[in-house]
């Protein structure tokens, strides 16, 4: 009875596009506490994005870029506005700015690019080329929850030829593009948070994608040493949010009358504020918030293979602290993860992780 899957009947019955099913956390997403128990590398409020170049590890937080080494941090650059994305190549670093545009420091292409891009969320910096992902064309990066609730899809992917300074739009209509990666054969892969998928830049708006129906909202992607990738997932989908995304009137009223911090939306951290929305399963039982309770915030990093298929994942579950993962990079056998909700950079030994996962 496939006719029941369309139109108002589907909306009434909750079928087809009105269905709010989300994938179970099984298989590659089987939960563990690896992220929650990971070693603290650096404490930094507002930590957001990691980047690697020439054996250096960089971190952006607030309006500063730090270099991290031996559990210590050192400021190497300060900008006028909050940094929303970070990339590094050779001796240069590129940062996206909340005030708009992308700035490159160091190297031969120093300067300000793409001033009309309001919401840079991820940058892929190469020798002579830079690719920038824009979350939405009318919102600041901090307003991502609004974009989700408005079901926004106004992001774009722009390529800049650094030699000539010419820019070219590779794709538009992205539902919060927030991660970029290049495959070994030169294809650009984009993560779209609100479509819960990774896709080839040429197929952004098409049904087909490399990795689809993720259980959370994917953001930045970085290469792994085995040819695969690390995917940061900054928030989890829940039935309630999926349901609210299909309830126009409630969303409209909520956006209008409720302060943003109290919206029914994923968050980077569970503040345990008594004014936050709560789901029934999150009621503390016998003094404990159960790890399987519906998450308001969650910590998740996914290891993808060379074909962008999930292999395994690292978790910080409900009730934990290391939530809101916005970035994860691999360097010298270590995985560095930003838990933005906790304001921490974590370090995990990869050989130990694989031992844990394989057993």
């Amino acid at each position: 009875m496939s006719f029941l899957n369309f139109g108002p009947i589907a909306s009434y019955l909750g079928r087809g596009k009105a269905s709010i099913t989300i994938p179970t956390m099984d298989g590659a997403f089987r939960s563990n506490d690896l992220l929650e128990n990971a070693d603290l590398y650096v404490d930094q409020q507002g930590a957001d994005c990691l980047a690697i170049a020439d054996d250096h590890l960089f971190l952006s937080a607030g309006n500063q870029v730090f270099e991290l080494a031996d559990k210590a941090k050192e400021t190497i650059a300060t900008f006028d506005s909050e940094i929303t994305a970070l990339a590094a190549e050779g001796s240069s670093i590129a940062v996206g700015l909340a005030s708009g545009g992308v700035e490159i420091k160091g190297g031969s292409y120093e300067g300000h690019y793409l001033s009309d891009v309001k919401c840079p969320t991820a940058i892929l910096l190469q020798k002579n080329r830079m690719i920038v992902a824009e979350g939405a064309d009318h919102l600041a990066p901090g307003d991502w929850a609004r974009d989700l609730l408005e079901r926004g899809h106004s992001g774009q992917i722009i390529s800049v030829d650094l030699k000539t300074g010419k820019s070219e739009k590779l794709a538009n209509g992205a539902a919060w593009a927030s991660g970029l990666a290049e495959t070994s054969d030169g294809k650009i892969i984009v993560s779209q948070s609100w479509r819960h998928c990774l896709s080839n830049v040429d197929d952004l708006n098409k049904e087909k994608s490399l990795c689809h129906n993720l259980p959370g909202y994917p953001s930045r992607i970085s290469p792994a040493s085995d040819g695969g990738y690390w995917l940061a997932i900054f928030g989890m989908r829940t039935q309630l949010i999926e349901f609210i995304l299909r309830e126009k009137q409630f969303r409209k009223q909520m956006l209008k009358t409720v302060p943003p911090e109290y919206w029914v939306a994923p968050a980077l951290v569970s503040r345990e504020n008594f004014l936050d929305p709560m789901q029934q399963g999150a009621v503390k039982q016998l003094g404990i918030k159960k790890p399987w309770a519906p998450p308001r915030s969650y910590g998740l990093v996914v290891k993808l293979d060379t074909d962008f298929q999930p292999q395994y994942s690292l978790h910080s579950r409900v009730g934990g602290l290391r939530h809101g993962v916005t970035s994860a990079v691999e360097k010298d056998g270590m995985l560095y993860v930003v838990a933005r909700g906790a304001g921490q950079v974590l370090a995990l030994n990869l050989s130990a992780i694989e031992g844990d996962i394989v057993q």
């Binding site: 709010i20 039935q239 349901f243 309830e247 004014l275 929305p277 029934q280 519906p294």
Partner: protein
């Protein structure tokens, strides 16, 4: 927007959504559809057929119906027991021939012939019963075979003795009375049928054999495990079926005296249709005499009406077939989906617009501003007690708390380190209070109002109140008694949070936001119980005022405290005390300085308040989203408030983040300390109060100092 809200409000105020689910969950609702069909068919026929309502026609219909109805009863009984009897038509024909031959061929007197035929019918049924009950053959195939065999006997008998069987003519008034007689215009057969129907109804619904049949039809293996003689009972249903069929045949024989070969042929289809259409399930276990009566009447009226309207013989069978198909389809689908449908429509949220909450945030300047004074709470029985909703202390500093295991735990010793089970009640004890004799009275979720003597002996005070005549759900039984208090003259006032949900599904009531609860009064002197106030929004805490002239009560989802006057000039009136709290109030108790403590189990969130004004949204959520994922009042952190008679907030105690004592549902002051309970906690909290009377004991405030 304002007008849209007004419309929504009016729509949810005046249209009783919640009744739909309550109606559907009633068993008798299943007879509603057949009733409507019956009335429709009867109305149509009486309008379209001349003289349909004339006494003669009705009398004729009555005679036909008596015979048909008896057979439907027979079939219904077998079906309720989980079987089916297809041989009914052949048995009917065979008994008809038996009756006629006994009186015409052999000249037996009626007083001997009729019982003989009934025994004969019983024997025919016993054949089916033995094969199906004891040898466990399939009912369908077995009765199909006996159908053929009995029919063959009829044919052989008619071939050889047709003339003799129907040849004679019995001159007997009694025989004429059975065939054509009436009492006050009611045909003799119909009277017999009605008497048997009443007996059958009583048997099936009120006696052990009837329940056994129902149980076997519902779940054969469970019935066997429960010790019911399954084989014998099944066999007996077929025997009774045979007797009823034989009785119908007697009336038929008396009325027509004919032994045609088509008597009773095809009867099983009509009877089966009638039973299923009436609502007797093919799967067994569900059905009643009333359903058989209804189904029989519909099928008889339809078939008879079609003949009367001059339709050809075939079309009547065709109609019957279509009706049977339709009825079977409904039966199967309804049985399968009934609970799903009820689940979907039972939860019926209403419109609840609360005034803007006073902000408890730091710097807001309201009396509710957050602090972390409860940081110093120490835990009693941490990890050894589960779900102490309420706590209470006696003169000897013993602390009593209920648990979700259905116990009342007693903590004693200077630091409450000794722990023992004071009483086992069985349900989760919620609110507690001591009566003047030192008995501990408690509201037990799912059970009612109970008392525990100082010796630990448990006794029931009440588990019911007066039934509201207009309510669809039976509201006489207590579903969720919550908190109580006792007035000086021995009246126990207690709240019942909701009458629509059980103890384990109370969160559903938060989605409804309707006045589903009530306050009930139990008189300790007369042991009588009656409902005092209805339609309260999750009434919870109850506390008698210090002067004993009024009680204070909290409405949890309504976020308010009200006063009910039980004495004085305003007696019987309800007036608001705190109309708009920033959170969800739970228990209320007295404080040593003449004021009241109130527990806020959780705080109102902007999103949940918004959802409460969107009933359609919540209903959809209840249908679509798994319960664990529902938007819910935030009850992970709350606070304790002190207020005075006028409803002014005097003090607020917070445990920010709920680290130390998540969820506070109750607090009790005792000798300078405050003891905290929480319905999903694993501890009882103890907080040292500054400037509180170090000798104050709660019970004394009610019953005077113990001498």
């Amino acid at each position: 927007m304002a007008s849209a809200n007004a419309f929504t409000r009016a729509r949810y105020k005046y249209f009783p959504d919640h009744l739909i689910g309550e109606l559907l969950s009633k068993r008798w609702m299943e007879s509603a559809v057949p009733t409507v069909i019956l009335v429709g068919v009867f109305g149509y026929l009486s309008l379209n057929l001349p003289h349909y309502l004339s006494p003669i026609n009705l009398m004729d219909l009555g005679r036909l119906y008596a015979e048909f109805g008896l057979v439907v009863l027979a079939m219904g009984l077998v079906m309720i027991g989980g079987g089916v009897d297809l041989s009914i038509g052949s048995m009917f024909a065979l008994c008809n021939i038996a009756m006629l031959s006994l009186i015409n061929m052999f000249g037996w007197p009626l007083w001997a012939a009729i019982p003989a035929v009934l025994v004969f019918g019983a024997a025919l049924g016993a054949v089916n019963g033995f094969l199906i009950g004891y040898l466990k053959l399939r009912a369908f195939l077995t009765t199909l075979v006996t159908l053929i065999i009995y029919r063959a006997i009829v044919d052989i008998g008619l071939m050889n003795f047709a003339v003799e069987i129907s040849g004679g003519f019995l001159e007997s008034e009694a025989w004429d009375f059975i065939g054509d007689g009436d009492i006050f215009g009611i045909p003799s057969g119909l009277i017999a049928f009605l008497i048997l129907a009443v007996i059958g109804h009583v048997m099936l619904s009120r006696t052990r054999p009837g329940w056994h049949v129902m149980a076997i039809g519902g779940a054969r293996r469970s019935a066997h495990n429960a010790g019911i003689a399954v084989k014998r009972t099944i066999c007996l249903t077929y025997v009774v079926s045979g007797v009823l069929t034989a009785l119908a045949a007697v009336f038929f024989a008396a009325r027509l005296g004919s032994a045609g070969s088509d008597v009773g042929s095809g009867m099983e289809v009509g009877v089966l249709t009638a039973a299923v259409l009436g609502g007797i399930s093919l799967g067994g276990g569900r059905g009643s005499v009333a359903k058989a009566i209804m189904g029989g009447a519909i099928v008889l009226l339809v078939t008879n009406g079609m003949i009367r309207m001059g339709m050809e013989g075939g079309s009547s069978s065709l109609a019957l077939g279509i009706i049977l198909l339709f009825a079977v389809g409904i039966d199967v689908k309804w049985l399968k989906n009934r609970y799903k449908i009820i689940n979907k429509v039972y939860v019926s949220p209403s419109y609840l617009e609360l005034p803007d909450a006073p902000s408890p945030e730091k710097g807001s300047g309201t009396p509710y501003e957050v602090n972390d004074r409860l940081k110093t709470v120490t835990a009693i029985g941490l990890g050894t007690i589960e779900g102490p909703e309420d706590v209470i202390l006696d003169h000897n500093d013993n602390l009593f708390a209920g648990t979700r295991h259905g116990d009342i735990i007693k903590f004693s010793g200077p630091n409450f380190e000794t722990q023992e089970t004071f009483a086992h009640i069985g349900g989760h004890p919620l609110g507690m209070a001591f009566d003047p004799d030192g008995n501990l009275l408690t509201c037990v979720g799912g059970m009612g109002l109970y008392g525990v003597k100082p010796s630990g002996e448990v006794y029931k005070l009440t588990d019911e109140t007066n039934r509201t005549w207009y309510s669809i759900n039976d509201d006489s039984r207590l579903r969720l008694a919550d908190d109580l208090d006792i007035t000086p003259d021995g009246q126990v006032y207690f709240s019942e949070a909701t009458i629509r949900y059980e103890m384990h599904s109370w969160p559903l009531d938060s989605l409804e936001g309707r006045g589903n609860g009530r306050i009930i009064c139990h008189d300790l002197n007369t042991n009588k119980t009656h409902t005092v106030i209805r339609d309260l929004i999750f009434p919870n805490g109850i506390c008698t005022s210090f002067d004993g002239k009024s009680i204070l009560f909290a409405e949890t989802w309504g976020c308010s405290i009200s006063r009910y006057w039980i004495d004085g000039p305003k007696r019987g009136k309800v007036e608001p005390v705190i109309p708009n709290l920033p959170g969800y109030p739970d228990n209320i108790n007295r404080s040593s300085d003449g004021n009241y403590w109130l527990a806020l189990v959780g705080m109102r969130t902007p999103t949940f308040d918004l959802a409460m004004t969107m009933p359609a949204f919540r209903r959809k959520m209840a249908r679509r989203v798994a319960p664990d994922e529902w938007l819910f009042p935030n009850i992970n952190s709350g606070c304790v408030i002190k207020f005075n008679e006028a409803g002014e907030i005097l003090d607020v105690l917070w445990d920010l983040g709920g680290e130390n004592h998540p969820m506070i549902t109750s607090m009790r002051e005792h000798k300078g300390h405050l003891y905290l309970g929480g319905i999903s906690n694993n501890r009882v909290g103890r907080y040292k109060l500054e400037n509180a009377d170090p000798d104050w004991v709660g019970i004394d405030s009610y019953w005077g100092k113990k001498s």
